[in-house]
Symmetry: C2
Subunit: 199 residues, 2 copies
DNA sequence: GTCTATAAAGCGATAGAC
DNA sequence: GTCTATCGCTTTATAGAC
């Protein structure tokens, strides 16, 4: 993929995080990317095509930094560490007020919201969701290795849906970031305890 | 409030459910309501004012049918009944494929998503959210009367955020309605068990 | 591949009659 | 209160030069 194309996609994620999908103007995107409007139409079919590819791009980027995060084993500072801590970090990763994270969360939320009215976006969305649930279920499995697979998947679906709900509430100003993080942490505890009861 | 005004608000909810806030065109709204565009600007300041009032309208309508639902004590068919059943019904009310409910859920999701970029919508949103959390916390309190208030509120916040996440996933085609309902029911069980452990 | 210039359409909002 | 007509800006998308 050409550098220009990637630069445009990066800029698109930035503009969507700033204005929303509905507020994305090709002109503003062009300015953000430092190119002309026409070049955007050279690289992408139309506005919808651009949105679809931006969604894919955002997903890949999120997977990438989740993987990096997972790879960076925490060198331990006496903390409980281990799989539970890794799970917590993975889920709390999306609840941080860093430009990069906020951008990804906002763009994801916007594109998901758009998919309600634009079925063209759904394929990409479903794919990303499956990967994310799988990832969380695997990490839960490391926390409670004896729990049945179906219970792990159900827990993972609840936790990821909750994460999305909390993220939406944070970004729309209903909840503070601190509250959202607290609710997420509690939920992990509650779900792990639930898996214990199944054994 | 005039009939016309109400008719326009009802039509706005319908159009938002069909096209999203992003897709709402004043012209389409006028057609849906069976009035002229100009009349809409007579009754509402501008597009944003219309959206804000539609959000309030949708919230009131949701409260109304939640209350009706609660009032309709279930005459008992030998089922467990009682407060737990009432809580389940209240939370599952938003996860139903009825035109009316789908319209409300979609409109709520859209308006929340819009609030990320339009702070003018946030007041109405926060208010509705507080009422809803309070309602769920109260019902949880009837299920587990000895649980501390703070735990009830935290559980209620997790359940309502989860409901929103599940609803968003259903409407955007990530989850089937049946799966969303199952996850919601499980979560209620998990949260109630959690409250038990606190005692 | 990339730009400038412009066509073409969309859409919010208002004027003015009734 | 309600309508018809229209303004005028915004925005997507394309033509054509380099």
């Amino acid at each position: 993929m050409s550098d220009r194309r990637t630069a445009i996609l990066e800029a698109a994620a930035t503009v969507i995080a700033r204005r929303g999908v509905r507020g994305l103007r090709v002109e503003e995107l062009a300015a953000e990317a430092g190119v002309s409007k026409a070049l955007i139409y050279y690289h992408f079919e139309d506005r919808t095509d651009l949105l679809r590819r931006t969604l894919a791009f955002v997903n890949n980027r999120a997977e990438r930094y989740t993987a990096e995060q997972a790879a960076a084993g925490q060198p331990a500072t006496g903390a409980p560490a281990g799989p539970l801590r890794r799970l917590e970090q993975a889920l709390l990763l999306e609840l941080q007020d860093l430009p990069h994270v906020r951008e990804n969360s906002t763009a994801w939320g916007e594109l998901r919201a758009s998919a309600v009215f634009d079925p063209e976006l759904r394929g990409e969305l479903a794919l990303a969701s499956v990967i994310w649930v799988r990832e969380v279920a695997d990490q839960l499995g490391e926390v409670r290795p004896t729990a049945p697979e179906s219970a792990l998947t159900a827990s993972a679906e609840r936790l990821t849906a909750l994460l999305e709900g909390l993220s939406a509430r944070w970004l729309s100003g209903i909840l503070t970031l601190a509250d959202a993080r607290t609710r997420m942490r509690e939920a992990i505890g509650v779900e792990v305890a639930h898996l214990d009861r199944l054994d």
